[in-house]
């Protein structure tokens, strides 16, 4: 098996918040192979966005980073100058809120071709043509006219497509998609997702797809990783995640989603609220306070991420709980 395109090991990030150092990521490990799509699922505060930012070196000033992030075998955090810029061309990030992430006083054409003209030296006319072509690939017609428009003249959905198109223009090898459809309405979500998924497969790009929606990740990604309180708690083939989860949190997430095919009595919510990395009780399993299967062994120390049946799990009881996690403790 060839070396993975992206390899993250032991990634721990601490940020300074109001004078104290708080952990936001703890010992995060994941791999993405060439052409593979990995979903990264978690609730607010789980650290999924922060992981993407760490990979793309977009962390705020004063962030402490431990552990390693390797892209194509090279340490990302050791890159500088021209190497760093080349890295940034090969890894493209798609952000959540397109309106905030596109400069409102510059034209769409400027936005799309900026990286091409500045970093790759593409002449303006050629860059504009490529931008036009890419726009039609994401389903936006009238290329030349669109390039002269300003962001406020486009809807949110269109702007997100523009962002996707712009990301693909530099021919990256890895896409970091940070909840690209969360800020859009449901119908537009489906359209944009289809475009993103389609183009990704067509160009053979690897993707780290971040979302809070377990089903969505499982639908378009080959493998899915689940995060809780700044840690990866499970990594699994997407197809098996729903029926054979390896961690109680994954099972609870899957069960909490209302099923439209059956009438249910009560919505199954997970008791308590999701914790961020710095709120997690130290020296024990972060999910233990809310887990229906927690025992003393769970509080004895931070559980390691261990292999199980082709996937990874941070539950010390994963072995014994297999098969029993698919159904909730009390139906």
């Amino acid at each position: 098996m060839s070396a993975p395109l992206l390899q993250v090991d032991g990634l721990t990030v601490r940020l300074e918040v109001r004078g104290e150092r708080r952990p936001v990521l703890r010992d995060v490990a994941l791999t993405v192979r060439e052409g593979e799509a990995l979903g990264l699922v978690g609730e607010s505060g789980s650290g999924k966005s922060m992981t993407a930012r760490a990979i793309d070196r977009l962390l705020p000033r004063g962030a402490e980073v431990d552990g390693s992030i390797r892209f194509d075998g090279r340490d990302v955090h050791a890159l500088s100058g021209a190497d760093l810029r080349r890295y940034r061309n090969q890894v493209a990030m798609i952000f959540q809120d397109p309106r905030a992430h596109v400069n409102p006083v510059r034209r769409i054409g400027d936005y799309m071709t900026e990286a091409l003209r500045t970093n790759l030296g593409t002449p303006a006319a050629a860059a504009a043509n490529r931008a036009s072509d890419m726009l039609s690939q994401v389903g936006i017609d009238g290329g030349a006219r669109r390039l002269r428009q300003y962001p406020h003249e486009l809807s949110g959905g269109m702007l997100q497509r523009v962002m996707i198109a712009a990301a693909l223009l530099t021919e990256p090898r890895l896409l970091l998609a940070d909840e690209p459809t969360t800020a859009l309405d449901v119908t537009t979500q489906a359209e944009v997702m289809a475009i993103l998924d389609g183009l990704r497969r067509e160009f053979g790009l690897a993707m780290l797809f971040i979302t809070h929606d377990l089903e969505l990740a499982a639908a378009i990604c080959d493998r899915t990783a689940v995060m809780y309180a700044g840690q990866i708690v499970e990594v699994r083939e997407s197809g098996r995640l729903h029926d054979d989860p390896l961690h109680p949190y994954t099972a609870a997430l899957a069960a909490a989603r209302p099923d439209i095919t059956r009438a249910a009595g009560r919505l199954r919510a997970i008791p308590g609220r999701p914790l961020s990395a710095f709120e997690a009780p130290p020296g024990e399993c972060a999910f233990a306070p809310r887990c229906p299967h927690a025992q003393d062994a769970c509080r004895a120390g931070v559980p390691p991420l261990s292999e199980l049946d082709g996937g990874l799990s941070r539950c010390v009881r994963a072995h014994e709980l297999r098969g029993k996690l698919g159904e909730p403790a009390n139906a």
């Binding site: 977009l58 080349r86 940034r88 061309n89 992430h101 400069n103 990286a115």
Partner: protein, 305 residues
């Protein structure tokens, strides 16, 4: 909107004749006793026997034609008196504006882009300079640079262009000194704010080099609030110039306005007030136009707060 302001302002200036205690004649004459023939001349010139709004109309149309009445003290056309002094004030305000643009915005940009020593010292300097009124700055500058060091003359206008510049330097610095502070602060704050915006993150994630980043995404966007505050500040210089002109004995409109107010030469006061308010409104209009040009989201006439 600004045109409406100008109209109302002109009305207030005109109405000053009636707001004054006593009757219009005593207001126009500044409380001096006048021979009956002079009174009749005043009545005719100001149409005092006609309805109020008709008088306003005459006064306004006269003003638009350049006829601003006659000074009761110097017995000359107000417009001539203004014309001879207007370049002093204009030159002073221009000089001070250049200083504000170069040093105010310059300091703000440096402080905004580099946290650390330069930033802290900018904050301290602006905190102090904001509190120093122009006339206090004037006497300190005169003390330091005129009396002690002898680099610049203390008072008066100067004769040639070069000596004008020499004579206007200290006054321009005094005028610009406290105005610098707010321009520098707003510039710094805008640059800080723009640097933290998400679209800058997008550009960083694409590997745009720092110089381009600053120019195209931070400065270009920050230019909007910076232009607004600079414009407003420059507009306010028009009024404060009066204080500086008095302190340095410059022969400008502001100083003359003060003298006319003291000697109750109402026609002159009205004339100069009208000119200054018009200048103020025109500068504000320019700011609006610039704002609309810089921000494609905004159409002319709506300056977001």
């Amino acid at each position: 909107m600004l045109a409406a302001s100008l109209l109302i302002a002109s009305f207030v200036i005109f109405a000053a004749v009636y707001l004054a205690p006593g009757n219009p004649i005593s207001a126009l004459s500044g409380g001096r006793a006048l021979p009956a023939s002079s009174i009749r001349v005043l009545e005719a010139r100001y149409h005092l026997n006609e309805p109020f709004f008709a008088q306003y109309w005459y006064w306004l149309t006269n003003a638009l034609h350049g006829n601003l009445g006659i000074s009761i003290i110097l017995r000359e056309n107000v417009s001539t008196l203004i014309a001879s002094r207007i370049w002093t004030t204009a030159g002073l305000v221009l000089y001070a504006s250049v200083l504000i643009l170069v040093f105010g915005i310059g300091m703000g940009i440096v402080a905004g882009l580099r946290p650390g020593f330069l930033d802290t010292s900018t904050l301290v300097i602006t905190a102090i300079s904001a509190a120093i009124p122009s006339f206090v700055a004037a006497i300190v500058l005169i003390l330091l640079f005129s009396v002690k060091l002898g680099w610049f003359p203390a008072l008066g206008n100067g004769t040639s262009f070069l000596s004008n510049v020499q004579h206007f330097t200290l006054p321009a610095v005094a005028l610009a000194f406290s105005a610098l502070a707010i321009v520098a602060r707003v510039t710094r704050a805008s640059i800080r704010e723009e640097s933290d915006r998400e679209h800058v993150q997008t550009a960083i994630s694409r590997g745009i080099p720092a110089r381009q980043l600053i120019r195209r995404h931070i400065l270009r966007n920050a230019a909007i609030p910076i232009t607004t505050i600079t414009g407003i500040t420059i507009a306010s210089l028009i009024a404060v110039a009066a204080v500086v002109e008095t302190a340095f004995s410059l022969n400008g409109l502001g100083a003359y306005l003060v003298q006319a107010a003291e000697s109750k030469d109402l026609a002159v006061v009205q004339g100069i007030s009208l000119v200054l308010v018009t200048a103020f409104v025109v500068v504000n209009m320019l700011v609006d136009v610039l704002y609309a040009l810089l921000d494609p989201r905004v159409s002319l006439g709506s300056r977001a707060q």
